[in-house]
Symmetry: C2
């Protein structure tokens, strides 16, 4: 090795992403998003552009979750983007919760001033301003009130996939943006029992999605009163622990009791002939989940895509040294076709980039399996494949037929490994405390931030409340498995 | 028959929809939308609520069209809902075209007045107002300008599925609403030739969608200058003739030349090393297409769904007279399962409505095939099926196995019959004129409104221009097949 090469090697970063997670987690996150070409900031304050690779992931999330939602007999529909101010004001807690972050439409026309500047036409001012939906309980409740007259109309289960807007001062791609994409479900029932069962059931649908598609192990539980959705009676949540030990609220499902039924007038004639208010729920999962996926699975070389959602599950890298690449390309095309025919999302990197650049591009995008095909291998009918989650040590050479025969079980193994790894890591970072001193000690001394699981009574302790505030802690949830006796606290996104 | 029954029969309308198409086409349209439970007006001016049955149709349209779009190597992505005023003003014709119908966001917070009323907080006024996208050329162009630096980055083909808003004073469900759903594609190329080929190619993708899924025969052609998209060099369109003889612009595809590349700065270093502006296209299809579907295929009994897009392709109606319905229901369940297993969207009407009500509900929703199962038929292992497009005369009794074996070819036959019927009807209503007197005569005398196909030179005739204005006519397109020599004129939606 020449001196020049030695110097270059010593200076080169050892990871594809700088900084590393350990060095600066928030900057690592932004760098991963950029390296995987998933999204970027837009010229519109707080709004992001979701680039094709990020959007393809969202499409796969949508497809998987939509199947789960439809399996619960929920029907998709679409409601207006704009909500009259009077509607959003109907539920007192609700408007207080969202008033500070509403984008308000006040005019419906532009006109040119004398100096050629475009301005909102003064005579097009709306009598009643409209708010871009931050969430749709009130506008969907208005339709429900029309559609429900008898107990025979219940349950009524509706869902919409849409954009929503909550004006945010500090934004981060996927995690916190003024505009984001989500689904919001809104169900109505006869009895309080049905509504609560439903809110918990829809959380299970999310849980299934997180475990079986995103490979993210969550902590299921109920929100404490101070963390509840504005207007809800019970809010259920899945909290996911990111690799920096902070919590991401991964989705929520709310039992709204009769609050919105009262404010929107969702009434029905009951089996007893009398008039009753319905009991409603709402539940949502957003593009924020993509941020959670990145911060759960990414490593210092970039993204790791859970295989069941990966836009590309297998990337085929033709490695050609000589002039004639026809044999290698034919082999790659044949393999790609065979993989697609068994339902595997395969792609060939046909760019004219150098082989190492192709490899690193695939690594940074987190493609679950890389297949390298070189001239010698083609001659032998063989290929080399590598798992993104395990890296170089998983490098295996086999025949194309062997690979096609085992690729699905490899993808499943990657999913399972990713899930188990994330579960082991996050479960190891839950510290059980029984006293306030233990809680304080943990956050003062632990090298490795995580959640503290403590008795729920400590929440009322004035000392704890001061400590919580000083340390930016919050109650993440009352885990279902502890039946309301314990609470998980931590820092959060 | 008793006198009472005779009187009831005479008074009863002979059609499920009143008024009929012949009596009042616009009211017939609204009645069909309502009877099929597809959409309704919302409390927000000009915005509609798309109900589950209408939305399920839109989901099927999306799926079919998205496949066609992706087959052209277009990638889906997502861009901000809000567009800065300065962006939309960049292209002069563009802002003139949309300024009159823009919803403008001016504030980002609400606050409570002393008397408890919510208002836009004065100190939250935006420095630069934002417009809810009426279309996204300028905001997507801004991203393209960043993403394109070399000819190697071209072609760049992007599409987004989203909501857009154009403030409308007179609205009609699906046909003209302030907010609507659509896809908008935006492609960029090196050469003018590629851009024009692309704009025409994407029109073919739509044409395929209209013919092979919606069963709608369109008139393909180019828009005249006065009907062009604001900022386009060439606008291509599919015009579909509704049953009242009016034209619906079913979709458009625009060759934008370098207009938006200039105004957005989409530049690339060419193969010659010099800097060039890209050539762009844009193309869109919206929920308006659902209005076109209804007005093409509906009859005086309601909607007729084209089978390949129908949310339910087969509805099974169990007809139970006695107390015990278990045998009929078991037969229905078995049939439903068999149909689903071969990929047919089947549903059982399990409501406790009376048999005729179930039948009429299925007719009004336009479900392609109704299957009736009664006790006697179950005993014989048989069923009776009826096509929505042909009505009673198509009633056929056969075994369940025979039905399962032929159902797919029946669905195809329905599609073909719907398409051919619509084609025959619309082609018969194109009147060929060579002189202005013939044109005038047609619109004065014809009992049956339609299109007039006339030499393109007549457009310049001052007499024609006055006649056109007085009769609310417009140029629909220069049909491709006439190679620019002829123009189709007519009334339009």
């Amino acid at each position: 090795m020449s001196n020049h090469n030695q110097a270059a090697k010593a200076a080169a970063p050892r990871t594809a992403i700088t900084p590393t997670r350990a060095e600066n987690f928030p900057e690592w996150y932004q760098a991963v998003v950029k390296a995987a070409d998933m999204a970027e900031n837009s010229p519109v304050r707080g709004c992001m552009v979701i680039k094709p690779y990020g959007y393809a992931l969202w499409e796969n999330i949508q497809r998987a979750l939509d199947d789960g939602i439809k399996a619960e007999d929920v029907q998709n529909a679409y409601f207006p983007l704009l909500i009259p101010l009077s509607f959003i004001s109907r539920e007192a807690e609700h408007v207080d919760g969202f008033a500070k972050e509403c984008a308000v439409v006040t005019h419906h026309r532009l006109e040119k001033t004398a100096d050629g500047k475009m301005i909102p036409a003064p005579d097009s001012a709306l009598e009643e301003p409209l708010v871009i939906r931050p969430t749709s309980e009130t506008i969907i409740g208005d339709s429900m009130a029309k559609w429900v007259t008898s107990y025979r109309d219940l349950p009524l289960k509706l869902n919409q996939w849409c954009n929503v807007m909550r004006w945010e001062m500090r934004t981060r791609l996927f995690l916190r943006t003024a505009e984001f994409l989500w689904q919001e479900g809104h169900n109505a029932f006869e009895t309080p029992e049905e509504a609560d069962i439903d809110a918990r059931k829809m959380l299970e649908v999310y849980h299934d999605m997180y475990e079986n598609f995103m490979a993210i192990p969550g902590f299921k539980g109920e929100k404490t009163a101070d963390e509840r959705f504005p207007g809800a009676v019970h809010s259920y949540t899945i909290e996911a622990m990111m690799q920096d030990g902070k919590s991401l609220q991964a989705c929520t499902s709310h039992n709204l009791g009769q609050n919105f039924a009262h404010s929107c007038g969702i009434k029905y004639q009951g089996r007893d002939g009398a008039e009753h208010f319905a009991h409603t729920t709402s539940w949502g999962l957003s593009t924020r989940s993509i941020g959670g996926l990145i911060m759960t699975h990414g490593d210092d070389d970039g993204l790791i895509m859970p295989p069941r959602l990966a836009p590309q599950q297998v990337i085929i890298l033709p490695i050609v040294k000589g002039e004639d690449n026809s044999a290698v390309m034919a082999f790659a095309e044949k393999l790609s076709k065979e993989l697609k025919s068994i339902g595997v999302r395969a792609q060939i990197d046909k760019s004219d980039a150098r082989a190492p650049d192709k490899m690193w591009a695939a690594i940074k995008r987190g493609i679950p399996i890389r297949v390298e095909i070189g001239e010698r291998e083609v001659a032998e009918g063989k290929l080399t494949h590598t798992r993104r989650d395990l890296g170089r040590e998983s490098k295996t050479t086999c025949t194309a037929a062997e690979f096609v025969g085992t690729v699905k079980s490899i993808l499943d193994a990657i999913h399972t490994n990713m899930f188990e790894t994330a579960k082991t890591k996050s479960r190891a970072r839950v510290y059980n405390a029984t006293t306030l001193d233990q809680v304080k000690g943990y956050f003062a001394e632990s090298q490795d931030l995580g959640f503290v699981r403590m008795p729920v009574e400590l929440l009322e302790n004035a000392d704890y409340q001061a400590f919580k505030k000083d340390n930016s802690l919050s109650s993440r949830c009352l885990p279902f498995e502890d039946e309301g006796r314990m609470v998980l606290i931590g820092k959060s996104y």
